[in-house]
Symmetry: C2
Subunit: 334 residues, 2 copies
Amino acid sequence: MTHTPVWFMRQAGRSLPEYRAARGSGSILASIAQPDVAAEITLQPVRRYGVDAAILFSDIVVPVHAVGFGVEVEPGRGPVVAQPFRGAGDLARLRPLEPEVDLPYVAETVTLAVGELASFGVPLIGFAGAPFTVASYLVEGGPSRTFARTKSLMHTEPGLWAELLDRLADMSVAFLGAQVAAGAAAVQLFDSWAGCLSPSDYERFVLPTTRRVLAEIGRTGVPTILFGVGTGELLPLMATAGADVVGVDWRVPLHEARRRVGPGCAVQGNLDPALCLAPFDLVAAEARSVLEAAGAEPGHVFNLGHGVLPETDPGILGALVDLVHTEGRAGVSR
Amino acid sequence: MTHTPVWFMRQAGRSLPEYRAARGSGSILASIAQPDVAAEITLQPVRRYGVDAAILFSDIVVPVHAVGFGVEVEPGRGPVVAQPFRGAGDLARLRPLEPEVDLPYVAETVTLAVGELASFGVPLIGFAGAPFTVASYLVEGGPSRTFARTKSLMHTEPGLWAELLDRLADMSVAFLGAQVAAGAAAVQLFDSWAGCLSPSDYERFVLPTTRRVLAEIGRTGVPTILFGVGTGELLPLMATAGADVVGVDWRVPLHEARRRVGPGCAVQGNLDPALCLAPFDLVAAEARSVLEAAGAEPGHVFNLGHGVLPETDPGILGALVDLVHTEGRAGVSR
């Protein structure tokens, strides 16, 4: 690949009219469980935007939902948990994931999508939630601004916290393994909320388990991406987690992100998705700044700094892909 | 002062039973408008914790509420705006603040509180919202995760954005000036959500106005503090805004924060308020880490990295003050 590759987190989703048509009004977890629907949604942004990768239409809570922990995804709010994780007794509610039994639809979706993507010459990126971020939903009971219960648990019951993360790590590995076995060519681990932690808490309570997930999935041979929001101070630690690529939000200019992750990792990012609501000349200027900050060396995957916002005009994203393909200077050659 | 000084953001408030008793069930803006109630609440944490400063019981939306923009503070949610700022026509809704007419109760509260604080030998810190953070509420209509409308406005209508910030800056200066005239010995400018911005957006769209507010209030001679959450990448810029002290959250270790702000600014922070929900031995260990990271040189004001969480046990904060007074190595001598 000679240009800078580009795809968008949440490209398969809320901002596309064809997505809303395919999804209908049911729950997102129900749509994910229908391989024909989920594969169609996965393909839509490839057809419309010409992005260089598809990302599986799924959700980070799919595995915990599938083992019956009692998680739903509320529109406009996010994952909510009827009975949050409160103590050792709740570990039993997180039995090992058996992908072929618990979520056969995921491998079916991957197989369908990979088959259709062949004609575009575009790979599929699989994904899972990282143990910390999934744990935060289970412990808080839903989205949180402070992550107070989660932080309290890790500090006051570090043994229980480690057990919780270990179970979630096993689930992430099984979930990602099923996607890779069905044809996913790369995987992204979403540790979306890790940036709420201090570097010392991240290093002590999160990094070891993240490292294990990436090591185990890395053995399959597919490239791995580790992403979180607001992780500026964590980048040097995240760079040691074993991922090939570290995703970065717009808060850290990419030249600085590259300095922090070092030469062993590529970087992915980092246009502010909020700026994609502006007219295209402004988006183009910002995109050029991102490309310039990334520099001429390979090892930059263009993306937003977080997911596409629902109110984004799809025309803007299409023009953005064209701009990156035309003006991006260097590519990662994989 | 020979020890490290300590106070807590939101020390006057939700976690204290005597606060809930004094406040009753009315709106927070109504309580702020009663000088006897507001002064009492301002004093409570000084009596209970022995902190080295009181901070005025107020809210960052008090000035825009007082000029009739139509802002309320919803319990558990935060500021909400009935008719958000949408265009140039809304500038007229932000007439200049006349403190003695629009919010005479603020100076009365300051006068009452300063009188009572004299017997404790403790200064009062006044505060205001910084123009960007107040603008974000007016533009978004309430709390936001993405600040998409605000970012869109600054990029697409930079002239209007500058006018909006200028009006809010004038209000902040007038609001802080009234507090200083009534006896506040220092002021903090809360740019709580500035950390949602990239460094280049912060530098272009926010810093100039912040600098003006700090310059104008600095002329009164009182020390100034500039605070925001998630500002790791912004610290070198914030250090040029003209504040004497830059507040830092727990994401950036204080030795690194000191490096980024340089020798001209003191730092304030940065214990994670979520950790104050843990038993005291854990809180003590974290507080010692903060003191150690701050180092032996003067120029560190101990605080949390953001406001006290409502569920915090006041006993923990009291013990924390004692620990900082006993073990803090250096003080700022002002």
